[in-house]
């Protein structure tokens, strides 16, 4: 059997997701026995690119990047979005909540017109995406699970229940009990509630669940005397694009 060819691409991102893959260390070397990575080190013409699986990190933040994404889609049999920037628009989408001209001016001053940008968006806003590995950053083990599924011809499906379920299993004290607010009740699980376990709150980096139980979340907020406005700040971190700021 020939090894599938895989390629990695990054758009606007911190490259922390590719780092999680590098950090797999020995497991990565093992994985490399089963796939062939098409390195980008060589300068190769676009149409010479030949790969089966494309992993894409980062958001699309410029119109001129769309053509490149479409080319990747045309070349690859399978496209996988990795990390919150690529799957849900991520932190990049924060800039969508404010007028873009102002945003550009704040960073680049009177040279703002040199720097092209538009509202940040996840990859599937531009091209169809076959799979998503959520998280900010992704988890190395979830990436490996996806690779195993792809290599054995299985489907990969991330959980569709809230982080709260995993948070209970991790035996964490609910952050609402600690007087803080959290978006775990509407966020897709799969992280093991790692941020709450480390003393923080759930920030929502894996995105809003399909069909979240909004009433139940509202009840939680009411129970702890919190209004939606008080948690809107946390909603804004990762949910801006999903929440409609496009």
């Amino acid at each position: 059997m020939t090894k599938p060819k895989v390629a990695f691409f990054d758009f606007a991102s911190c490259e922390g997701d590719q780092l999680q893959i590098a950090n797999l260390e020995e497991k990565l070397l093992e994985l490399l026995g089963h796939v062939e990575v098409v390195s980008f080190r060589e300068v190769m013409k676009e149409d010479e690119d030949n790969y089966d699986i494309a992993f894409i990190e980062g958001s699309c933040t410029r119109e001129s990047d769309e053509a490149r994404l479409k080319k990747i889609r045309a070349n690859a049999k399978i496209v996988v979005a990795i990390g919150a920037c690529a799957t849900i628009g991520g932190i990049n989408s924060l800039k969508n909540t404010r007028p873009l001209d102002q945003v550009r001016k704040e960073v680049y001053g009177d040279k703002a017109n040199l720097f092209e940008t538009y509202a940040a968006r996840p990859i599937d806003a531009v091209i169809p995406v076959d799979y998503k590995v959520h998280g900010c950053p992704i988890r190395g083990d979830e990436f490996l699970s996806l690779c195993k599924a792809l290599l054995t011809g299985q489907k990969f499906t991330p959980p569709n229940y809230p982080v709260c379920a995993e948070c209970k299993l991790a035996e964490n004290v609910c952050v609402f009990e600690k007087g803080m607010s959290c978006v775990g009740p509407v966020t897709r699980a799969g992280c093991g509630a790692c941020c709450v376990t480390e003393g923080a709150v759930c920030w929502g980096c894996r995105g809003i669940l399909d069909d979240p139980n909004k009433n139940s979340h509202k009840e939680v907020l009411e129970k702890y005397g919190l209004t939606a406005e008080e948690v809107v700040n946390k909603f804004n971190l990762y949910f801006t694009y999903q929440g409609g700021s496009k």
Binding site: T117, E198, G199
Partner: protein, 436 residues
């Protein structure tokens, strides 16, 4: 690597493939154009944090960089704490120093072992080395994993850490974990020496190019500065961090979405070599001995030696981490000290600077009376080096113009990699276009 007579729309390709291009245009042996270009998609973090609350800003700005997210978090927290008047305990200070060492170790080992070493061994990446140099690769992997696990242990996560919060730590490493970490660091010292031996044997392959420039870093009187210090230059000046704007002077050039910086000269260098040139006398004994053994002597004007300076810092971070752990564990009530998160926001401006693997990182925030960020400025180390990379290339290309094209390309790539600008520039995405 191909490159000659390529007819590619450079801007289009590279914007996607990553973050840096080298363009060299020479005719009849005469250099007409040498340009270091940075076409990375602009991300607008300084605008993203406006309107955000003081206790989430560090969570956002950590996302500037996946590799040095601990450093970004710390620079961010220091700025917010300065604005809010939040004081941290000695224990928090020492744990944060340990966090910076952990990040420095993971980043430097990654660069030395995975990114720089393949050039010296004449291969395209670390992948073929796994079969040709299995022992060396295993050593690097062990060190890299230890550094990552140290980051996890101190910060809760290597990338985008969760334990670091305004005022201290949301969760502490346990005494047992710190004791084990110390044991592991001691056990791993031979691995550092093994990498040093390998680098020493390959060091003659580093180009002997030199160009004197200004080296800038944090400096302080009592330690090799990472977490705290004043701005200092090898040109002799020293000023508090609050005067940073006159040191960075960011400016915009058309070929780059990253801003450039300069001080009194046309360019300056930050990072391990700059820190070594400024602060080498404050290195631990073992690190000083290693520097000497590797032929690194201050002042060193060879940018290719930045990788060697990183290795010297690895030895320093190992030894200093053990000292810090001993200090933390000497406190009998270590685990019972819980850092308070109770702080009220106040109006003000705060500036935080730390040394991260690639050089000085500065965050500067202004908050209103509700603790909402109204203005932000972040000065990234790699940006401070861009102008210096450009000047190095301008000096280097005429010296090597008669070498075969492939050799010139490799030397220029290695130059950029020596600066360790970021993982993408250094590994997969660098592109050299040649027009002869």
């Amino acid at each position: 690597m191909s490159g000659a007579n390529l007819n590619i729309d450079l801007h289009y390709i590279t914007r996607v493939e990553g973050h840096g291009n080298i363009v060299v245009d020479a005719k009849d042996g005469k250099v007409e154009k040498v340009q270091w270009q940075v076409p990375e998609a602009p991300r607008f973090f300084e605008a993203m944090v406006i309107g955000q609350k003081w206790d989430v800003v560090h969570h956002i700005t950590s996302r500037i960089c996946g590799i040095c997210s601990i450093g970004h978090t710390l620079a961010s927290l220091k700025a917010t704490e300065a604005a809010m008047g939040i004081k941290i305990s000695e224990q928090t200070l020492n744990l944060r120093r340990l966090a910076i060492h952990a990040e420095n170790l993971q980043s430097h080992v990654l660069h030395i072992g995975y990114l720089a070493l393949p050039d010296l061994l004449g291969v395209g990446s670390v992948i073929p080395l796994a079969s040709s140099h299995p022992e060396e690769v295993k050593t690097v992997v062990r060190l890299h994993r230890l550094a990552n696990e140290m980051s996890d242990l101190v910060c809760g996560r290597t990338t985008h850490p969760q334990r670091l919060i305004p005022g201290g730590f949301a969760k502490l490493p346990t005494e047992e974990e710190l004791t084990n970490l110390k044991k592991r660091l001691l056990t791993a010292e031979p691995d550092v020496m093994a990498v040093a031996k390998l680098v020493k044997s390959l060091a003659p392959k580093l180009p002997s190019f030199t160009r004197e420039t200004e080296y800038v870093g944090l400096t302080c009187d009592n330690e090799y500065a990472f977490y705290d210090g004043d701005l200092a230059s090898t040109d002799g000046d020293r000023e508090p961090v609050k005067n940073y704007l006159s040191w960075t002077n960011e400016y915009i050039v058309p070929q780059s979405t990253a801003k450039y910086t300069k001080r009194k000269r046309e360019s300056l260098m930050v990072g391990a070599l700059a820190r070594f040139n400024l602060n080498h006398k404050k290195l631990t004994k073992k690190a000083q001995v290693l520097a000497k053994d590797l032929g690194l002597v201050a002042p060193c004007y060879n940018p290719y030696m930045n990788t060697v300076a990183q290795l010297v810092e690895v030895a320093h971070s190992f030894e200093d981490s053990i000292r810090l752990i001993d200090g933390l564990l000497a406190d009998n009530s270590y685990e019972s000290r819980v850092t308070s998160h109770e702080s009220r926001p106040r109006q003000g401006r705060g500036i935080g600077a730390v040394e991260v693997p690639r050089g000085i990182l500065i965050h500067d925030y202004t908050y209103d009376s509700n603790g909402i960020c109204t203005k932000a400025n972040c000065i990234i180390p790699t940006n401070q080096n861009h102008a210096n990379i450009q000047r190095d290339m301008e000096a280097l290309v005429p010296q090597i113009i008669n070498k075969p094209q492939k050799e010139v390309e490799l030397m220029l790539e290695m130059l950029v990699r020596a600066y360790d600008p970021c993982i993408s520039c250094s590994t997969h995405y660098l592109k050299v276009e040649f027009k002869k």
